[in-house]
Subunit: 137 residues, 3 copies
C-alpha cells in the first residue's frame, strides 16, 4: 500500500472541452496493479469530467449546451468584474466538478472503451491549469 | 491497509433513475471496518448519483428535470447519428458524474437514512452497464 | 498507510452557498504528509462543492443560477409533499454532488489559491447537516 502524488501543469487550452487522457497518462509512470487515480484541478473556472473520446462534434455540442446552462451576460449576475465568461465558468465548474477518480486495474486506468478524460476549460484565456494526481494503491 | 476491486455488470434497466443500493452491496462481501467504497460506471451515457431512496415519484421528477436540462432533438446538436437520446445522455452523464465514493464505517456503507445509490440510465436501451467497485481500507 | 475517519455536524446554515473550509479543517487534527481527504454529506437535499473563496456576490449568483436550473413550483413535479423547496433541493444536490475529495500535500489540503469548500444548503431550513470525513494516507 502506498500513496504517490505529483503536481503538473497542463498546456494552455482554448475555451472548450479537450481530451487529455494521454497527457495525464504520460505524467504517471509505473501505475500499480490495483488502485485508484485521483485527479484534481486547482481552479474554480475549469473542470474535469469523463466522456466520449471519439467524435469531435460531441465536444462542440458540450460547449453549446454548457453555454445554455450557464449563459453569459445575464443582467442578474452580480459577480461581473472579471469578464463575461467568468461567472458562467464558476457555475460550469460546479456542474462538472473539479475532481475525478478512476480505477486502476492490471497497471492501467480501467476506463471504458469510449471513455476519455476531459479538461473542461470554461475561461476564454484560462492559462496553464494546475493539476494534482494522487495514486492510491 | 488493502485495496480490493471487482468488476460486475448490472442487469439491464430502462431509461430512468433506478435504486441499485442492494445490488451494489450484494457484490461486496466482507466490507472492512473503516474505508471508502469507490464506484465507477464504465460508460459515457449513464451516470451514478446518491439521492433519496423512498418516494418513487422523485425518480419520475428526476427524469423529467434532466430532460429539461438536456432536451432531445435540439436542432443545434451536431452529434446526432446515434439517436435522439444519445447526445442528451452524454450531457446528463457529465451533470451526474460517473463515479461516487461512500465512506465505510463499522463494516457498512455510511449512507444517510434517506440516501440510496442510483444508476442513472440515460439511453433508451443502455444494455448491461459495466461497473467497477474498489474498496480502500 | 492509514485510514482515519470522523463524523461531525455542521452548524445550521440558511439556504444558500456557504464557505466551510475552516470548519472542515478544524475537525481534522494532524493531517498526514501525503494523502486524500474525502468529505461526504449524508443528505439528499444539500451538497458539497469547491469554488471561489473570495467574493460574496458569487454566492448570491450561485443561488440565483441554481434556482433557474431547478425552479420551485413546477406544476409537473409529483414529489411535492415536503414543500416547494424540496424537489428542487434533490435536483440541485445531484448537480453539485454530495462528496468531494481533495489532495493532501505536506500536511495541508492542496487547494488552489482561490478554492474553498462549500456547503450547498438547498433547503429553507436544512438543520444541522451530518458530515463524514475520511483521510487516506
Amino acid at each position: 500500500m502506498a500513496i504517490q502524488q505529483i503536481s503538473f501543469k497542463l498546456p494552455e487550452y482554448k475555451r472548450g472541452f479537450h481530451l487529455i487522457t494521454n497527457e495525464v497518462i504520460n505524467q504517471l509512470s509505473n501505475l500499480p496493479q490495483t488502485g485508484i487515480l485521483h485527479l484534481f484541478i486547482q481552479h474554480t473556472s475549469a473542470g474535469l469530467c469523463i466522456n466520449e473520446n471519439a467524435d469531435p462534434t460531441l465536444r462542440t455540442d458540450l460547449e453549446y449546451v454548457f453555454n445554455k446552462l450557464a449563459p453569459e451576460n445575464d443582467p442578474n449576475y452580480l459577480h461581473i468584474y472579471e469578464g463575461a465568461d467568468d461567472m458562467p465558468a464558476h457555475i460550469k465548474s460546479i456542474i462538472t466538478g473539479n475532481q475525478i477518480s478512476i480505477p486502476i486495474t492490471n497497471g492501467k486506468l480501467k476506463l471504458g472503451t469510449w471513455q476519455g478524460i476531459y479538461l473542461c476549460e470554461f475561461r476564454n484565456s484560462g492559462g496553464n491549469r494546475k493539476m494534482v494526481a494522487t495514486v492510491i494503491s
